[in-house]
């Protein structure tokens, strides 16, 4: 896969997440297309590319976002690295491996954010309401979206 194309896809997904996805929110949840892209590229390209794109995408998201700088950078870099290593040992054709990986990555990212916020903003983060209102819906949303996004990415990158 072309490195430049991968970078362009990552940056475009962040820009679209900020500008376009507010029109296609589902129950006020914004899909994390960038996470699915990082999952897909990491599995295909390995830990170095996965972690690098996770770092760039996450940092862009953090700079444009309003939370702690580095929160998405750390989570997406770790996801890119871990799935890059795991990706060497899994079957890359089909959709289900990506959906399972996106599910695991979403769970990791949202729990990581929750526990980090819990450390620095204990007054603002309650597990019950955070799990019910943010973590669970987002994990389900990302997992359901993954097959569609992966099909699109396979066409863009012309992979099987």
């Amino acid at each position: 896969m072309s490195k430049l194309l991968m970078l362009a896809v990552v940056i475009i997904s962040v820009v679209l997440k900020i500008t376009l996805f507010r029109f296609i929110e589902f129950g006020s949840y914004k899909p994390d297309i960038l996470l699915i892209i990082v999952v897909f590229i990491s599995i295909y390209e390995g830990p170095l590319t996965g972690a690098s794109l996770g770092f760039i995408g996450g940092l862009t998201e953090d700079i444009l976002g309003s939370g702690y700088l580095g929160l998405f950078t750390v989570s997406k870099t770790l996801i890119g690295f871990a799935l890059g290593i795991i990706g060497k040992h899994i079957y890359k054709t089909g959709i289900y491996p990506y959906a399972i990986a996106a599910f695991a990555a979403s769970v990791f990212q949202e729990f990581f954010i929750f526990f980090w916020l819990k450390m620095f903003q204990p007054y603002a983060s309650f597990f019950g309401s955070s799990f019910r209102n943010i973590i669970l819906p987002l994990v389900i949303y990302n997992t359901i979206l993954t097959p569609f996004v992966v099909l699109g990415l396979k066409k863009i990158f012309r992979t099987k």
């Binding site: 507010r22 996450g58 444009l64 903003q121």
Partner: protein
């Protein structure tokens, strides 16, 4: 795979992970909103902001076009079905009337506060699901400064949290870290309207002896130096006794529909407001 490639594949990602953890630690230890230490990052990212601003405006235009196109298409379908010239006219008049009503409402609202309101279009939102911010198309070039109050014709929306030359970031009152000095209009009980995400706020830090009822209207109290007194916040929609020794849980549903924000007004001067048509407050919020 040779050893050098194998080690590079683990060594470089490890550096990236360490760097990102260091960034996160420095950011977290500082204040949640006080990212001024990283203002050099903002300067570095100015071209990115320009792109966001332009793309956001274009997408806004396209969205308006799609909405209008959708309306026309639906209208056309209806016409084909009913095959009636009269129906076409009626539908068009209804559409124009609704648009006219909306524009009149905005015009009427802005004319009630001459010279203190600046209108802005919403061009983006926070990428994270853990915070509630929007991006508007007015920035430093329009004399916008941090902590300016953002309202709509329905009530309080939030405050300006970050300013770039061409756009600004607005923290909505439903953000988990937002706290607005609030007052119950009927009893004058003071407290804080704190964001709860999911388009609701909680009324906190009030005297528990106060008589509060569902349907009570909350306005800004003017305490806290950011929000001027008298701006509509929302209506009490739920009161629950948490436990014997704890205060009540008071849920507020804001008058502003945050999922459909398209236009907002920025208060150029921080002055107390007497909200227009205070007695005819939006009855749709239940």
């Amino acid at each position: 795979m040779d050893i050098s490639k194998q080690s590079r594949e683990k060594f470089l990602p490890s550096i990236l992970i360490c760097v990102s953890f260091i960034i996160l630690l420095i950011s977290s230890v500082g204040d949640y909103h006080g990212r001024d230490w990283g203002s050099w990052l903002d300067s570095f990212f100015l071209p990115g902001n320009w792109v966001i601003s332009k793309v956001g405006k274009k997408i806004n235009d396209v969205n308006i076009f799609i909405k209008e196109f959708k309306n026309v298409w639906e209208e056309n379908q209806k016409l084909n079905k009913e095959n009636s010239f009269l129906m076409q006219r009626t539908a068009r008049i209804t559409e124009l009337e609704s648009e006219n009503n909306r524009l009149n409402k905005l015009l009427d609202f802005s004319s009630k506060f001459p010279k203190i309101l600046l209108s802005a279009a919403v061009i983006g939102q926070d990428p994270s699901n853990w915070s509630q911010y929007i991006i508007i198309d007015k920035g430093g070039k329009n004399n916008i400064t941090v902590d300016m109050v953002v309202i709509t014709a329905d009530g309080l929306a939030g405050r300006v949290a970050k300013v770039w030359p061409d756009m600004s970031k607005v923290q909505l009152i439903i953000d988990r870290n937002s706290g607005v000095g609030a007052m119950v209009q009927r009893t004058r009980a003071n407290g804080v309207a704190s964001g709860m995400m999911k388009n609701i706020c909680e009324f906190k830090y009030f005297d528990d002896k106060e008589d509060l009822q569902e349907g009570d209207i909350l306005i800004t109290s003017g305490l806290g130096m950011v929000y001027p007194k008298g701006i509509l916040i929302g209506k009490v929609t739920k009161i629950e006794q948490r436990s014997l020794n704890m205060s009540r849980y008071i849920e507020i549903t804001p008058y502003v529909n945050f999922s459909k924000l398209e236009e907002v007004f920025i208060l150029k001067k921080n002055m107390d407001l007497v909200w227009p048509e205070m007695e005819n407050i939006n009855p749709e919020v239940e």
